[in-house]
């Protein structure tokens, strides 16, 4: 079994798409048991940075070190530790929630209590055997979250996780992420919904035009503190 990641070091990571600069030498440290709020306006480079962290976007320069118990991990061993919730669901619309999760559990070659996982994310019992393409936006988001949590990842990357959820759902997810962080997971959240992560994010990083313009660690940022930091540095 691969040991859990406890430190991810992003070292001077830059990414260019042709002449377009998406990331410009970002250096950041992500620690186990912390929740990083990765903030910035649209086009700031947040999703690209998540892509690089997920190993699916190759940086133009710089590197990322994934460390577990003092050892560097790479390749499949790293991917085994990553859970990702992206803009899209990353699930097959023609398969039901249970079939999707069974497929991915098979690909990771792990045994998972799928009904318990679906209970945890709050996906309606009657919907679980229905094709996912019939789901509402909120249900798709819950399934996507279940897929991201399937492997009990030690690096959880979330791109706008509160999209499609109602207020109660968003706050419940925020609380759930707080619990996941408490288990030692490195949680990185890209969001504009500062209220949902208030009181849980303990590390704030703000990107502007691909550059890291602000980084700070604290206990747990309140909504007002997050809003203040965001407005002072993102613009």
């Amino acid at each position: 079994m691969t040991p859990a990641l406890d430190l991810v070091e992003i070292k001077k990571v830059a990414k260019r798409y042709g002449s377009e600069r998406a990331l410009a030498g970002v250096t950041l440290e992500l620690r186990g048991g912390s929740m990083t709020a990765l903030l910035g306006h649209n086009g700031a480079g947040k999703t690209t940075l998540l892509g690089v962290l997920s190993t699916l976007v190759r940086p133009s320069s710089g590197a990322i070190a994934y460390r577990a118990a003092g050892k560097d991990l790479s390749g499949d061993a790293v991917r085994r530790q990553i859970g990702m919730l992206a803009h899209a669901s990353l699930c097959y619309g023609e398969l039901s929630a249970i079939e999707n999760l069974e497929l991915f559990a098979g690909l990771y070659e792990i045994q998972v209590d799928i009904p318990a996982l679906l209970d945890k994310v709050g996906l309606d019992k009657r919907a679980r055997t229905r094709e996912a393409r019939t789901y509402s936006r909120g249900m798709v988001q819950r399934l996507a979250l279940a897929r991201a949590l399937l492997t009990r990842p030690s690096l959880l990357l979330l791109d706008e996780p509160f999209t499609g959820l109602d207020r109660d759902g968003a706050l419940a997810l925020g609380q759930q992420l707080g619990e996941i962080k408490g288990q030692g997971t490195i949680v990185v959240v890209v969001t504009h919904d500062l209220e949902a992560i208030a009181g849980r994010a303990d590390h704030v990083a703000i990107l502007r035009r691909g550059s890291l313009v602000f980084e700070e660690r604290g206990d747990a940022y309140s909504y007002e503190a997050l809003k203040d930091v965001y407005h002072r540095h993102a613009n």
Binding site: S54, D76, R80, A86, A88, Y92, L95, L107, E109
Partner: protein, 227 residues
């Protein structure tokens, strides 16, 4: 073993999704059958010589066109919910992802051939099954080759906006040797007397073509799908 197991999982997933939607297979089969019907109107007199010259081309053109429909759509499906990213994010060897997709694609192309070949034999009175073993072998090799080359380029074009136009433009020139081998083998099998020596030459040629592209694809797949 893990590689084969994971490739089989991905192939079965693709076929399961297709069995549920029946989107690709219905379109391919309808298109393939339609082509045969059109051919039967173009060559209505069942002239034996004309038939022996033209049926090999008809068979492989049908496979080529119907196969391209399948290739484009099968990879488009992975784009809809960004599921290709989910596959690449899993700790499955990238090679298993490629092989799984290619196997599922080959099965779909073979399904078209299973419909089109008897239809051609029936509508054009072509003795395609006189040497059924050799014909089946060249069709399987053709489907596998098309699936290998097609999967590589369909995956590469996944994020390109005009991929529907670009796929056949890029794919067909590379598939020319495959279609030449397919038509030459089929022609040799339809000759009177049958020319098995030529047929086996092209079957071996296509076997080497498939093996070469399989090795090349396994080598380049990862670098093509990572941004």
């Amino acid at each position: 073993m893990a590689l084969v197991r994971q490739a089989a999982r991905i192939a079965w997933k693709d076929l399961r999704v297709e069995l549920r939607s029946k989107e690709i297979i219905t379109t391919m089969m309808f298109f393939g059958a339609l082509l045969v019907v059109i051919y039967s109107f173009v060559f209505p007199n069942h002239n034996d010589k004309v038939m022996r010259w033209s049926v090999p081309g008809m068979l492989w053109v049908s496979i080529a066109f119907a196969g391209t429909i399948a290739l484009g759509r099968a990879f488009d499906r992975e784009r809809e919910n960004d599921t290709m990213r989910a596959l690449l994010l899993s700790p499955v060897p990238r090679l298993a992802v490629f092989l799984g997709k290619a196997v599922a694609m080959a099965v779909l192309i073979l399904a078209v051939a299973v419909i089109v070949t008897p239809l051609l034999a029936l509508f054009l009175d072509a003795p395609l099954f006189d040497h059924g073993g050799e014909l089946a072998l060249i069709i399987v090799l053709g489907a596998v080759g098309m699936a290998i080359v097609g999967s590589i380029f369909a995956a590469t074009l996944l994020k390109v906006r005009s991929r529907d136009v670009l796929l056949p433009v890029i794919l067909y020139p590379l598939l020319v040797p495959l279609f030449v081998a397919g038509t030459e083998t089929t022609s040799a099998l339809l000759k009177v007397p049958v020319d098995l020596e030529t047929a086996w030459y092209w079957i071996r040629f296509l076997g080497i073509y498939d093996a070469a592209f399989l090795v090349l694809s396994m080598w380049v797949f990862e670098s093509l799908v990572i941004e």
